[in-house]
Symmetry: C2
Subunit: 139 residues, 2 copies
């Protein structure tokens, strides 16, 4: 069963404010990752740009959302799984997909990042894999 925004905020020890709830609900109902700009477009009438920046930052720190690396200089965010930050740092271990056709970026929650053998001397701490191509909807 999916947690509600109130439940998530409460379990992260965050005070329940209208802005946080709104932004979190946007994530909960979005099938794809969102950039700051996307959120601003949806609720710039109701909340200040600065509040959105700060809310995203807070969610990141609490392990509610994670960032997705990209080549285009746009940070995109998506919800973490429940147990994401239990150990103190993020461990979203799934592949991300960016569709060249519709432009959307999504978490492939079921697709684990494959391991890789690094040259001698390198120690991996986190591995990100971003696949681009054509998504299911655009196929």
């Amino acid at each position: 069963m999916k947690k509600s925004s109130e439940e998530i905020l409460k379990s992260s020890a965050l005070s329940l404010t209208a802005g946080r709830k709104t932004i979190l609900d946007i994530f909960l109902s979005s099938p794809n990752a969102l950039a700051h700009q996307d959120i601003e477009t949806i609720c710039k009438e109701k909340y200040d740009r600065v509040t959105i920046y700060r809310t995203l930052q807070t969610f990141l720190e609490k392990g509610i959302i994670h960032t997705i690396p990209s080549s285009d200089n746009i940070t995109r965010y998506a919800l973490c799984n429940d147990d994401c930050i239990v150990t103190g740092h993020h461990h979203d271990n799934h592949v991300h997909f960016t569709c060249d056709t519709c432009g959307k970026t999504i978490c492939l929650d079921e697709t684990e990042v494959p391991s890789v053998h690094l040259p001698k001397g390198f120690r991996a701490h986190q591995i990100n894999m971003i696949v681009s191509g054509v998504c299911k909807s655009c196929a």
Copy 2:
């Protein structure tokens, strides 16, 4: 044998200007990937910010450099291999590494990106893998 900046510019059908040569030489002599800001710091006295932006854009289009995805909103660039753009689009198929200690990002040219099995309906066109951890020099 490594190509000189003049040779690279010539084989990309770009006119040989002092700015392009300087910036390309910076890449040729750098062991790690460079952000716009890094280049600006090195040669802001000699070349305008705008020129640096345009030069990087040109190099990208010609397949001389490629971008490296990141989570921090900073586009980093590194030299492509010789045969990178022969087919019309980039195919840098190597892993990238970002060191949490020294902050440098490098191409692991010898380390191929492992393949991954995507959910039904998704078609991969390009795969990026970015590993973070501790690099050889910082181990």
